[in-house]
């Protein structure tokens, strides 16, 4: 009698544990749809999988964040050049520096390995990429160096040997964002340029959105989030080639 009661209690407590487990995993699954935040292209922090990659001016730091409350630094690599931005795409990190575009493999995520590089004249350069091309904006200035300002398109199908396919010169480029075949390039006081990049070797300018001083963009579903000098500007991009202003969240 006592034995069977004990047995019942054990079974009950186990089923409690089981239930609580299934509840937890359901909770994590429902969150799994949108787990990692989307950063703008000017970011120096990037999360890919269970790893956080951080670039300071001269170093790339790697942290394992599988246990979020307890990040562990797994790698630290010192560079000899000025790092500007970091952009993760699939198994790669695209690192924009003042001397060129560097591509790191994170097939082994705890220890990024340099795969390829495309050097250019000294400048500042955020990057976005897809499977075949990397779009880079270069801003030549007194601070950044003498490169021709504009959009640079690199063929990165062979990651070990990225090659420059196309250059489109224009003033004041800054952050950029990609949504399918449409590329958005911030040009500070000159507005936001919208390119059709269906043929990446030949981006076609569709229009320029004006009315703000554009710094950086995040295409976020059907909304384009723009960091502008006066605040955050939201555009509806249900039609990606035709951003429609929705809201300015003013700084003041």
């Amino acid at each position: 009698m006592n034995y069977s009661l004990l047995k019942l209690m054990v079974v009950l407590s186990f089923s409690c544990v089981l239930f609580s487990c299934s509840k937890e995993s359901a909770g994590t699954e429902s969150r799994a749809t949108n787990t990692t935040g989307t950063n703008g292209s000017l970011s120096r922090f990037a999360i890919s999988g269970d790893y956080l990659y951080v670039v300071s001016n001269w170093a790339l730091y790697t942290y394992n964040i599988a246990d979020p409350g307890n990040p562990v630094k797994t790698n630290e690599e010192v560079f000899a050049f000025n790092i500007e931005t970091i952009y993760p795409y699939k198994n790669h990190l695209f690192i924009g520096t003042t001397t060129g575009l560097y591509i790191y493999s994170i097939a082994n995520p705890g220890t990024p390995v340099l795969e390829g590089e495309a050097s250019h004249a000294r400048s500042c350069d955020p990057v976005v990429a897809n499977d075949s091309v990397a779009f880079v904006t270069l801003k030549g200035s007194s601070r950044c160096g003498p490169a021709t300002s504009g959009l640079y398109v690199h063929d990165v199908q062979d990651l070990f040997h990225p090659t420059l396919m196309k250059t489109i010169a224009f003033d004041n480029p800054e952050g950029l964002g990609l949504k399918g075949d449409v590329l958005y390039v911030c040009c500070n006081e000159d507005g936001l340029k919208v390119f059709n990049v269906q043929n990446p070797a030949n981006p076609v300018e569709i229009r320029t959105v004006t009315g703000a001083n554009f710094k950086d963009v995040i295409p976020y579903g059907n909304i384009l989030i723009c960091y502008v000098s006066t605040g955050i500007m939201l555009y509806d991009i249900s039609d990606p080639s035709n951003p429609v202003a929705v809201k300015l969240i003013s700084n003041t």
């Binding site: 969150r31 949108n34 787990t35 990692t36 935040g37 989307t38 950063n39 703008g40 000017l42 970011s43 120096r44 922090f45 990037a46 999360i47 956080l52 951080v54 300071s56 001016n57 001269w58 170093a59 730091y61 942290y63 964040i65 979020p68 409350g69 307890n70 990040p71 630094k73 010192v78 710094k215 950086d216 995040i218 976020y220 909304i223 989030i225 960091y227 000098s229 605040g231 955050i232 939201l234 509806d236 929705v246 809201k247 969240i249 700084n251 003041t252």
Partner: protein, 180 residues
Amino acid sequence: MRILFFLFIIGSLCSCWTRHRPETYRKKVIGNKAIFETLQKAKEITYENTARSVQVPGNICAIGNKIYQLEFGKGIHVIDNSIPSQAHRIGFIKVNGSSQLSIKDDHLYVNSFNDLVVLDISNNNTVTELNRLSGTFPDGMFNYWMVQPDEPGYYECTWYADSLIVGWRKDSIWNDCYKD
């Protein structure tokens, strides 16, 4: 190699950051005076449940229905983007010495001076510091706006081991350091 690297950093700090003052003699001028706080106070992270205006905007990060925007050196604005046409700031996470952020699940990663900080942002009314890797960014380059003010001109360039700079204000200072 590491030692060479840090010597290089220190060298570049000396060569281009601390400009020699245009005047050759030492005198008092109006310039940017550093606002110091004790280490403990400066690194304290708090959440304000009200919108705050943006002074020096920085990077943005979008997740779920929220947008987070960095305020250089000060912290992170939280924006409710549930209805884009009515999007508005709802709060502010005070993180002194911050410049970069990233988010995964309910965890926000941000630098605070030379530390990496992990914040739990699952609760809408509060923010909890989960962990802090102190001094994990040894090159210190994240914090130039903490070492120098944003604008050019004279600034106070004294340092204390037990305090950190959390801001700048106009005051009468010695013309020891000048930013181009």
